[in-house]
C-alpha cells in the first residue's frame, strides 16, 4: 500500500481550494515578492547596509537613498532588506525547529497513548503555564543577545503548540480503518507512524508552521525593540524600529519603513496561514 497514492488527490483538492481563496493568494504573492526582494534588492543600490555617510545623516527619502538614511547616514533601503533576511531567517528557522521537535514529540505521545502519553502532555501543560516571553527575555539577558540565542530561546517553548496539534490529530485517526488495514498487511509500527499517521497530519503541520512564523517574527522584533535582538552592524526590522522611535517627530521615515515591512510580512503570513487552514480542513471553513 503506497501512502502517496492516497494523499495526492487530497493534496490536489486542497491546493485547488487554496487557489480559489483570494486573500490567501494575496498573502502568497506578497511573500514571494518579499523573498525575492530580500535576495536581490540590495544589488540595486550602490550603498551597503553598514556604510556610513556622516554628512548625509537623517536624509529624507530621495532618488539617491530611496528610503532615506539613518542617524549615521546609513542607507535605510539596504538595511531594510538586510532586516528582511534576518527577520525571515529567524521566523522560518524557529518555525522549522519547532516543527521537528513538535512533530516527533507529539507523534510519539499520540501513537503510544496511555500513561506515557498522559505524562508527556502534563509536561507540556506545565511548560505552557510558564510565561513564554518572560522566559525568553531572561534567557537572552543571561546568554547575551544574538541571532542564535534568539532562535534557541524562541524554540524552547515554541514546539509545544505543534506537539499538541499533532498528538490530537494522531489520537483522532489512529483507530481508523486504514491504519487497521496497514497493520493487517504487516506494516511495522514505525512504518505506520511515519507513512500513515504523520503523512495524514501534513496539512495541519504546514498550517501550523505557516502560522508560527509571524509569531516568531513578531517576538524577534519585539525583543530587538527591547534591545535584546541582533547587534550592530547587523539590523533586523525590530532594531531599526527601535532606533527610529526617538526620531519619530522629525525623521518619521526611519520608523515608518521597518514598521511597514514588519506589518506587511506578518499580514501576508497570517493570510496564507488562514487560507491553508481552510484549504486543508474544509470543515472549518465558514
Amino acid at each position: 500500500m503506497n501512502a502517496t497514492n492516497c494523499t495526492l488527490p487530497y493534496f490536489r483538492e486542497s491546493i485547488f481550494r487554496l487557489k480559489e481563496n483570494r486573500a490567501a493568494m494575496v498573502g502568497l504573492w506578497l511573500l514571494i515578492f518579499l523573498f525575492i526582494a530580500a535576495v536581490i534588492a540590495p544589488f540595486f543600490t550602490p550603498y551597503s547596509y553598514y556604510e556610513t555617510h556622516l554628512s548625509l545623516k537623517n536624509y529624507p527619502p530621495s532618488k539617491e537613498f530611496w528610503f532615506g538614511t539613518d542617524e549615521l547616514g546609513r542607507n535605510v533601503f539596504s538595511r531594510i532588506w538586510l532586516g528582511a533576511r534576518i527577520s525571515l531567517f529567524v521566523g522560518i528557522s524557529a518555525a522549522f525547529i519547532d516543527m521537528i521537535i513538535g512533530v516527533i514529540y507529539g507523534a510519539f505521545a499520540g501513537f503510544i497513548g496511555g500513561k506515557i502519553d498522559e505524562m508527556m502532555m502534563r509536561f507540556c501543560d506545565i511548560l505552557n503555564s510558564l510565561p513564554q516571553l518572560l522566559i525568553v527575555i531572561i534567557l537572552l539577558v543571561l546568554m547575551g543577545p544574538g541571532l542564535t540565542t534568539i532562535i534557541l530561546a524562541l524554540t524552547l517553548t515554541g514546539w509545544i503548540n505543534m506537539a499538541r496539534i499533532i498528538r490530537g490529530h494522531i489520537h483522532q485517526i489512529k483507530h481508523l480503518d486504514f491504519v487497521m488495514a496497514a497493520k493487517a498487511l504487516g506494516a511495522s509500527r514505525f512504518r505506520i507512524l511515519t507513512h500513515h499517521l504523520i503523512t495524514n497530519a501534513v496539512g495541519s503541520i504546514i498550517t501550523t508552521v505557516t502560522l508560527t512564523i509571524p509569531g516568531a517574527i513578531f517576538t524577534e522584533s519585539f525583543l530587538s525593540f527591547l534591545g535584546l535582538g541582533v547587534q550592530a552592524p547587523m539590523a533586523s526590522w525590530g532594531t531599526m524600529a527601535s532606533d527610529g522611535l526617538p526620531a519619530l517627530r522629525f525623521y518619521p521615515w526611519r520608523l515608518f519603513f521597518p514598521a511597514f515591512f514588519i506589518s506587511v510580512t506578518m499580514f501576508a503570513f497570517n493570510l496564507l496561514g488562514d487560507g491553508l487552514r481552510d484549504a486543508f480542513d474544509p470543515r472549518l471553513r465558514r
Binding site: P131, Q132, L134, V141, V264
Partner: protein, 308 residues
C-alpha cells in the same frame, strides 16, 4: 470529575509551577558568572566581606535557596542591586497599580470591541460587514503593538494634537496606550467569537428556538451569547499574557511609570535581582489568572466536567 478533585489538582499544579519558576530563577541567578559587586573597581576585602554578609551571599547555596524561598512566601523579593536601599517588592507595589489600570482598560476594550466585531461578522456572514471586520482582525493580528503605538502617537499626538503624546495621570493619557495594547486581543477575540457564533447559529436548538417563535434578540441573548462566552473565557489566560508583555514596550513608548517600564529599565541596566523579581511576580499573576479562569470554565461548562 468532581469539583473538589479538579480544584485540588489545579491548585497543586499551580503551586508546583510557581515553585518551578522560583527555582529556575534562583538557579539562573547563580549561574551568572561573578557577583553583583565584581564590577566595582576595587573594593577593600573587608568591605566586600561585609557586603557579602549583608546580602547573605557568603552562606552556602542551599541555605541561600531556603532563605530565598522563605522570603518569597512572605512576598520578600530582596533588594535591588542597582538602586541602593530599594526593595523589589516596593517597586512592584508602586508600579503595578499603574500597569494594572492600563491593563484593565485594555482588557475591557478588547472584550467589548472584539465581541462586537465578531458577532457583527457572524450575523452578517458573507456580507461586507463580515468581510470588513475580518480584514480588520487580520490587520490587528499583524501589526505589532509597539508599531501601532508609535503610529497612534504620530497621528493623534504629533499631527493633530488631539491627545497627549506621553505621561500618565488623567484618563486622556490612558486612551492611546490602552488602544494599542488591546489591538491584538481584540482581533483575536473577534475571530474567536465569529467562528463560534457561526457554528452555534447552525445548531438545531437555534432552529428549534426560531420554530418556537422566539424573537431574534431573545435567541441571541439566551442561546448564542451564552454559548459564545466560554471560548472567550478560556482565551482570557493568554490574553492576560499578551497584555502584560505588551505593556513592557507600550509603557516605554508612552513614558508610563508602570511595572513594565521598570522591567525594561532593569533589562537595560542588567539589574539581575530586579529582572528575576519582576519575572517571578508576573509569572505568579499569570498563573493565578489562568487558575481562576480554569475554575470558572469548569464551573460554567458541563462539557469540561465530562471530558476531563
Amino acid at each position: 470529575m468532581s469539583w473538589a478533585y479538579y480544584l485540588t489538582y489545579k491548585f497543586f499544579t499551580l503551586i508546583f509551577s510557581l515553585f518551578l519558576v522560583a527555582t529556575a530563577t534562583f538557579v539562573l541567578m547563580h549561574v551568572i558568572p561573578g557577583d553583583p559587586f565584581s564590577q566595582e573597581q576595587t573594593i577593600p576585602e573587608e568591605i566586600l566581606k561585609s557586603l557579602m554578609s549583608h546580602y547573605e551571599l557568603d552562606q552556602p547555596l542551599y541555605k541561600q535557596y531556603i532563605h530565598y524561598l522563605k522570603g518569597l512566601i512572605r512576598f520578600d523579593l530582596g533588594p535591588s542591586f542597582k538602586y541602593e536601599g530599594r526593595m523589589i517588592q516596593d517597586i512592584i507595589r508602586e508600579g503595578f497599580g499603574v500597569s494594572a489600570t492600563l491593563g484593565a482598560l485594555a482588557l475591557i476594550i478588547s472584550i467589548v470591541a472584539g465581541g462586537t466585531l465578531g458577532s457583527l461578522a457572524a450575523l452578517c456572514r458573507g456580507k461586507w460587514q463580515d468581510w470588513l471586520s475580518m480584514l480588520m482582525a487580520v490587520i490587528g493580528m499583524s501589526v505589532p503593538s509597539f508599531i501601532l503605538a508609535t503610529l497612534l502617537q504620530y497621528v493623534f499626538a504629533m499631527k493633530f494634537n488631539l491627545l497627549p503624546i506621553a505621561r500618565w495621570g488623567e484618563f486622556r493619557h490612558m486612551i492611546l496606550p490602552a488602544v494599542s495594547l488591546s489591538a491584538f486581543p481584540t482581533a483575536f477575540i473577534a475571530r474567536l467569537v465569529r467562528s463560534n457564533m457561526v457554528e452555534i447559529l447552525e445548531q438545531e436548538y437555534i432552529v428549534a428556538a426560531k420554530a418556537r417563535g422566539l424573537g431574534t434578540s431573545k435567541i441571541l441573548l439566551r442561546h448564542v451569547v451564552k454559548n459564545c462566552i466560554l471560548p472567550v473565557l478560556s482565551y482570557l489566560g493568554p490574553l492576560f499574557a499578551s497584555i502584560i508583555t505588551g505593556s513592557f514596550v507600550i509603557e516605554k513608548i508612552f513614558g508610563i511609570p508602570g511595572l513594565g517600564g521598570w522591567f525594561v529599565m532593569s533589562i537595560t541596566n542588567r539589574d539581575y535581582t530586579m529582572i528575576m523579581g519582576i519575572t517571578l511576580f508576573y509569572s505568579a499573576i499569570l498563573m493565578i489568572a489562568v487558575f481562576i479562569v480554569d475554575l470558572l470554565s469548569f464551573s460554567i461548562d458541563p462539557r469540561i466536567r465530562r471530558n476531563q
